[in-house]
């Protein structure tokens, strides 16, 4: 599993190999909600997840 850096606390977080871009994870160490980013080269990183917006829903 890739070990990625948490953008909030700087700790590391393991992400499953088959995780998808846009998948959300909670960092166990600091509790941050993080979104997986995958760039065109397939490189993975984490960013803080978006806040729920007014137009979110079904």
């Amino acid at each position: 599993m890739p070990e990625l850096s948490c953008p909030v606390c700087g700790g590391t977080m393991a992400v499953p190999e088959d995780a998808l871009a846009g998948e959300l994870f909670e960092h166990g160490e600091c509790g941050a909600q993080l979104e997986l980013i995958v760039d065109d080269s397939g490189s993975m990183s984490l960013k803080m997840a978006e806040e729920v917006a007014e137009d979110w829903g079904e």
């Binding site: 995780a19 998808l20 871009a21 846009g22 997986l36 760039d39 137009d55 829903g57 079904e58």
Partner: protein
């Protein structure tokens, strides 16, 4: 088939659709909408047979669907269906015109006409924003004094759509409502959403339990789905004290995690199979 899966957040539903499509032998290309650029004026070389639209953000869903349809790719659901279902006023108008039972509903743009309409509806009344989901910004007024307070709050909010007062007679539900799924003319599964809260949305803690699909439910759901243009829909119904089933909302980018948990039904597989069948026609 070559299926595109357009999404912004990868939730249970998106992963379930991806896995079901691959299991059924289809090729799936992931379209992570926030990270892509979409050209409107240059035809794109997209080669999908169809695209499932799964963005949780309504505006991302609509905007990316406009571009996909510009490139002549069928989208499930289509732009018209997504747009019409997002607007509660338009949904209610379409359903009512099609002869589907809905709660008594009025719309007003200023305080006095809103109060007049509510007196005629009879209290309690429910005030909803015409856009929005997961039970957000929906308020119940047991009497005129409370409604005046709610309208005052709404009149002081910035968004112009909040100043459209969509008013419904409150339906005294039996501690639950029904979420039924419409999949290309079929009604494969339904749940009760049980809650002590008058808002029964599972997003607000409503508990999902399997619900029987009666002939009456099936007929109403099919009629409702067809009134809004078909495809794959989540249809919310309330059991009124006089024994009728009233359709309250229709959702065009359905969530089904809690339905699968409660029923064990493979709804993602059903959605993929039926959509492929329709697209091959």
């Amino acid at each position: 088939m070559n299926i595109g899966l357009a999404y912004d957040m990868a939730r249970f539903e998106e992963k379930a659709l991806l896995q079901a499509a691959r299991r059924l032998g289809h090729t799936v290309s992931l379209i992570h909408v926030p990270n892509k650029e979409f050209w409107v004026t240059k035809p794109d070389s997209m080669s999908y047979d169809f695209i499932f639209q799964r963005c949780v953000s309504y505006y991302r869903a609509v905007s990316s669907t406009i571009v996909f349809e510009r490139n002549n790719i069928p989208v499930v659901n289509s732009l018209n269906v997504i747009r019409d279902c997002e607007d509660k006023l338009l949904t209610t108008a379409r359903l009512s015109a099609a002869g589907v039972d809905v709660p008594d509903t009025a719309v007003a743009f200023r305080r006095e006409p809103a109060l007049n309409a509510s007196r005629r509806l009879g209290y309690p009344v429910v005030v909803k924003p015409i856009y929005g989901s997961w039970g957000r910004m929906i308020a119940r007024a047991p009497d005129e004094e409370t409604l005046q307070d709610i309208i005052e709050l709404r009149e002081n909010m910035q968004s112009p759509y909040i100043k459209i007062h969509y008013l419904q007679r409150y339906v005294d539900k039996p501690g639950r409502d029904i979420r039924a799924y419409y999949v290309w003319g079929d009604v494969p599964v339904a749940i009760y959403r049980v809650s002590g809260n008058w808002k029964t949305n599972t997003a607000l803690g409503g508990k999902a339990e399997p619900a029987p699909i009666t002939d009456e439910l099936r007929e109403i759901v099919i009629k409702s789905g067809e009134a809004l243009g078909g495809g794959v829909l989540g249809i919310d119904l309330m059991e009124s004290p006089d024994g009728r089933l009233l359709v309250s909302e229709i959702n065009a980018i359905v969530e089904f995690r809690n339905t699968v948990r409660a029923t064990g039904y493979d709804l993602a597989g059903k959605i993929v199979e039926e959509t492929v069948r329709v697209m091959r026609r």
